[in-house]
Amino acid sequence: MRVLRLLAAALLAAALPGAAFAQDARRGADLAAHLCVNCHGADGRSQTQGVPSLAGQQTEFITLQLILFREGIRQVPAMTPFAANLPDRDIEDLAAFFASLPAGPPDDREPRDAARFAAGQALSGPRNCAVCHMPNYAGRNQVPRLTGQREDFLAQTLKDYRDGRRIGADPQMNGAVAGLSDADLIALAHYLAQHD
């Protein structure tokens, strides 16, 4: 059944020769208003614990993750109903919309804790965070932006990678956080969340 549904989506997309495929952020904004902003925030900055901010996120990262959700390769129950039937065009427009929003921290970002920040910073070098996410942590292409992200989401994501509950398009993050303690990951999340 899912095969058929997907097929229909694929055929629909394929059957639109000459359709505007330039990403349409304005259309993405309309879609997001119905689908996304309740949890991810009207300005793309999530005020909801455990839900990531998407403002300023890399378009290719958002596109890839939505496809992984849709295909059932990345499984997050809260996302499943929203991604299940999403056509490529909607995905690309949503990605363009969120990428166009200015990144920034949530209103409830914790003040900097000097000790945790220092511990996270000390890990970031040896763990090579900046190699893929870039020295300013803005990410690139399929590698996500980390600046402005919610600390609780970062901490949970790092744990999921360490414990094998999350696997990306490739498993590089699983390797990058292997062997770190909960305290290490909490420090790393705090350090990264303090970047704008």
């Binding site: 899912r2 095969v3 694929a10 359709a19 763990r127 398009a169 770190l180």
Partner: protein, 404 residues
């Protein structure tokens, strides 16, 4: 650099033990040995549908007399291709986790279906009789009578346990996807890529080519020291196994080469991680003399990512292409300037020595702007003698024909 890599290796070996914040982390597998400050990284995949008017078929350049056309499109991530007895093309993928079926309509157009999805890197496909085998990392699934059931795909027979291939975790996420081919002896041949960019590893497991009976029994090592092969085929006359092989990353723009290997004797050693041909690895040579290893049949270029290869067994192309090897080079990322993004032909003499490499299908690499239009991942000879080339980045399959 050596010290850092060694440290990373030691750390990886100890990773079962509690880690200390000050210890160096395992560098991402693809980035071992990466020089400080380099901004090279793997190119992002494109997993959305590319409309046909954006597929760069018009950019393709071929020798005189050859033409390219768009055979099928709308299949994000399309890579490996096999053909069923009734002419259906089955195509595997990596990240998007799908297997496609492409059938031809009476009017010559094609119809595309998704016949499997949600799999982890289903890149290994083999057709045996009416059964399609899908190798998705360690999972092995057999879809019986598949061509009669394209609209209502039955549950596959799960042969995972019988094959006992290393899991994604065993590989540490490195080179765990499969290429597979059916040998003239009826066995399934596949790669077990190395579980790192470059490292000392269990050479009886990783960096091997292996073969199995179709039920998963009778595992045999066909070649050792093969870092990662994502394309192989048997010579139509000699029945020898030939394969493409990827060289390691981060030893500069011009080393080492990807190679074409010829397996003359089951089990022979092709040198990874010590050597590639007569090139000694600067970090992992371990004092070995490169002449003790099987030498490559051809050097295919550094970092070009040589993938699918097939012997041309058709009659449509001129006689000079008969039994020569068409090789898809998906294109480089670990190199300052792009290379590859084309299909080359390895021309052989009567003894099977490679006499030259011909750049056959070009036009996807834009040297002036350092960008690429598509990435050839596999080739397949159709029964009419035309050649299919899959373009992974655009989700398209091209068909190459020849008219005198």
């Amino acid at each position: 650099m050596l010290r850092r890599t060694l440290a990373a290796g030691v750390f990886a070996a100890l990773s079962a033990l509690p880690a200390f914040a000050q210890q160096p982390a395992p560098v991402p597998g693809w980035a071992v040995g990466r020089p400080e400050g380099s901004t090279l990284a793997p190119h992002a995949p494109r997993l959305t549908v590319t409309p046909p008017d954006q597929v760069p078929v018009g950019s393709i350049r071929l020798p005189a007399g050859f033409q390219a056309e768009l055979f099928a499109h709308g299949m994000p991530g399309v890579r490996t291709m096999v053909e069923g007895p009734n002419g259906t093309i089955f195509a595997g993928t990596r990240v998007i986790g799908r297997v496609y079926a492409i059938s031809r309509n009476p009017d010559g157009t094609t119809r595309t279906r998704v016949i499997a999805q949600g799999l982890s890197q289903p890149n290994g496909l083999v057709m045996i009789g009416n059964s399609l085998y899908v190798l998705a990392v360690n999972r092995v699934l057999r879809y019986d009578n598949i061509e009669a059931n394209l609209d209502n795909v039955p549950q596959p027979v799960d042969l995972t346990a019988a094959f006992g291939l290393p899991t994604e975790q065993d590989h540490g996420g490195n080179h765990h996807w499969k290429f597979a081919t059916l040998g003239p002896d009826g066995r399934i041949y596949t790669n077990i890529g190395v579980n790192c960019n470059v490292c000392n590893t269990d050479r009886e497991v990783f960096a091997t080519l292996v073969s199995f009976n179709p039920d998963g029994s009778g595992r045999r090592i066909e070649a050792r020291g093969v870092r990662n092969s994502v394309g192989m085929a048997h010579h139509p006359v000699t029945r020898e196994l030939w394969a493409t092989n990827h060289g390691r990353d981060w030893v500069g723009d011009d080393n080492p080469n990807d190679t074409l290997i010829r397996v003359r004797r089951a089990g022979e050693d092709h040198g990874f991680p010590y050597c590639v041909g007569n090139w000694a690895d600067p970090q992992f040579n371990a004092g070995r003399n490169c002449s003790e290893f099987a030498q490559p049949a051809a050097l295919l270029g550094p970092h070009v990512a040589a993938l699918g290869m097939r012997f041309y067994t058709g009659t449509m192309f001129p006689e000079q292409y008969r039994n020569q090897i068409f090789i898809a080079r998906r294109g480089s990322w670990n190199r300052a300037r792009l290379s590859g993004y084309d299909v080359v032909v390895a021309h052989l003499d009567a003894q099977g020595n490679v006499t030259r490499l011909e750049e056959f299908m070009t036009g996807f690499r834009d040297d002036a702007n350092q960008r690429f239009l598509d990435r050839p991942a596999d080739v397949h000879v159709l029964r009419d003698g035309s050649l299919l080339v899959s373009g992974e980045q655009m989700g398209a399959i091209y068909r190459i024909t020849y008219r005198r």
